[in-house]
Amino acid sequence: MEPPTNPATPAHPPSPPHFPPAFVVLCGNPNSGKTTLFNALTGLRARVGNYPGVTVERKEGRLQGASADRPVTILDLPGAYSLSPQSLDEQISRDVLLQRLPDVPAPALVIVVVDASNLERNLYFASQVIELGWPTLIALNMADVAEKNGQIIDTLKLGDALGVPVISTVASDGAGVPELKQMILATVRGGEKRGSSKTLCDLPPALSREAEAVAQLPALRRHPALARAEALLIVSDEKFLAGGRGVYPPEVAMAAAAARARLEKAGVDWRSSAIEARYARLTAIQQSVVTETNADQVTLSDKLDGIVTHKIWGMLIFIAVMALMFLSIFTFAQWPMELLSNLFTWVGDWVHKTMPGGDLESLLEKGVVLGVGSVVAFLPQICLLFLFIGLLEDTGYMARAAFLMDRLMSKVGLHGKSFIPMLSSFACAIPGIMATRTIETPKDRLVTILVAPLMSCSARLPVYTLLIGACIGGVWMKSLTMLCMYLLGIGVALAMAWLFKKTLLKGETPMLVMELPPYRRPVLKVVLRHMWDRAKLFLQRAGTVILGINILLWFLVSYPTHPEIKREFAAKQAEILQSLAQKPRTLTTNELAGALDQLNADRDSALVQGSFAGYAGKLLEPAIAPLGFDWKMGIGILASFAAREVFVSTMSIVYSAAKHEGEKEQAHNQNLQKILAAQKRPDGSPVYTPLTAIALMVFYVLAMQCASTVAVVRRETNSWKWPVFQWVYMGALAWALAFATYQGGLLLGFH
């Protein structure tokens, strides 16, 4: 430690003084270019997480160019149209701005991003935020677009009218960003004190008086500067107190109810008069600051919309876009997935070869490596889907897709935005469920999550292929059966969505009011950034659960170990080798290899049948016998609760389908199909009849046999309640419909 240079200074090193990071909040309407501006301000390093208790993305970054001793943290709030929220996103924005979230500090500065080309509507939210009294500044974004549309905005005049500084920016090319940074630094350095709250709308006197009176209540004195704006929301928004989560004591609700009763008596519409007063003021401001150079011209975006939402062209474009997206997830993602899967098989083999055999080796090879592999295998699909969703959102097409599909989805009580998550679920329910975050209404989002895994995903395909190949004859019948499985999934999903909206999740759905934003050129960096954030969140949060479940299932099929079975087969192997040594040339090398492979397969089959999973299969048999399934299928079904495609590899172990060195996957599967078709019951009848196969497939269409989906639903609904409910309802449905299929088929004389 250095000695003090000046005897007058205290013993502690004097400088630099350590400031905590200044906290700046960035907010604004959806589609105002807020995220692009956030990236321009913070560069590419930002922390992404969730707000506690909800699945709303929390994005924070350091302001680039701030000095190291006085860093500035910027929080990017989700887009909001008003302080009376309709979605979880908007609720979080409101709660941060009203200081109702305990782990978010008070902002030193609030930046409101305003879309200059849609000034009046954007100013609605901006003026509400300004009235909260935080040090505020307006980033007037996309002034270039406004000019192209024939509107020139006087920023100085706008600043005067709003009482806060206004800085013109074009976030997509960085114009105005340096000025904005300077202004942020100047404000947080200056430590501007909060003033009293401003008023930007002239309320009817009676409403104004009532709001003042509520603002005087002791419960609102926590943040005196916020009190007036908060009081106005308390009086005029009946849902405001319900969302307060115990922040407000009961006397506030009583005061609000009394105030509303008095206002109604006086003939003042307490719901809408504040909105009307605000818009009256905003219209006046807009007229005084905007010079129209070319009013009512048709923009390029309008012309484009004429085609994209056209009755025929619009539908064709929509189908083409969806087909491209679906094919990408379904086909193109297979390449990197196969690469990853080969990589993990290779690592597993390497572990197998380098480690001494035993429990630890088995855990590493079959539990950890394969488990990590099955987590990472989802990445290509997730990345591709979010690349598409990012592009669709940022170009403005997402809203058009919802516009086109809303009528179809509203038939079962859902929103047009549910279409893309449902479609993606045909490839994989994981990205599909993650994509439901684009649905604003929490109930619609939940219903979409609950039914999305009913869509036949790519993991069911190997199961369908195996069973159809083994039991259904004729190309036409094979294709028809496959098609029916897909249709069954869609039909049940729509029916369940309708049922959930009618029963469990009924109640008022807010009316559809959706903006169709102008088409924009997406910023690739922003889209890629979003894709990476989602992938990272998936790996961190869902990955650990998926890995855990895989290890558990490894345990169930590997224990108890049966040393006697292993000894028995080792003895048989020694016997073969010995007899060969005595009488060489009785077997060719190939025949020997085949015999040894078959012996290994028989041993693995015996081991699985003696494992916990094997016992469970037998225990389960009475429950699945009415569906036409035997206990061996039971083992397959149980193992499939990790992932459906595990059915194929499990069946191959159970029926000891030997896997020969260098054998192609396809040849092995065809061999397995033959083995299945040849299975006989004790009475000599075949086990895998067409009816059994169809009942088994029906079960696979409907049951939620995917640990990863369970983990993601847990993540996305933030509770165990919904994944457990979903698992149970889908399981019950699977059992009931497989039962109906099998027993109905028997009654009709099929077998």
Partner: protein, 79 residues
């Protein structure tokens, strides 16, 4: 003499008018009002979706989608 009010859905495509009445339950149309669709607001019907519902309107210079059965409750004085 002003012509009688007519529902938004009966406008010609491209036709416009001024909102004279909103017959929706007040607790449901808060968001509609906050998006700037108020009594006295000028709006234009742009198009219906290819499947006939919902519809697109232009209000305060931007585009908004609402469903047909809600739009039927919004009455206009046509221009």
């Amino acid at each position: 003499m002003p012509s009688a009010s007519q529902p938004l859905t009966s406008l010609q495509i491209g036709g416009s008018g001024t909102v004279s009445q909103i017959n929706l339950p007040p607790e449901h149309c808060r968001r509609l009002q906050e998006m700037g669709l108020l009594i006295g607001t000028h709006l234009q019907l742009i198009r219906f979706a290819p499947l006939g519902d919902p519809l697109e309107i232009k209000v305060r210079g931007y585009h908004l989608t609402i469903r047909r059965h809600d739009a039927e409750q919004i009455l206009l004085q046509p221009k």
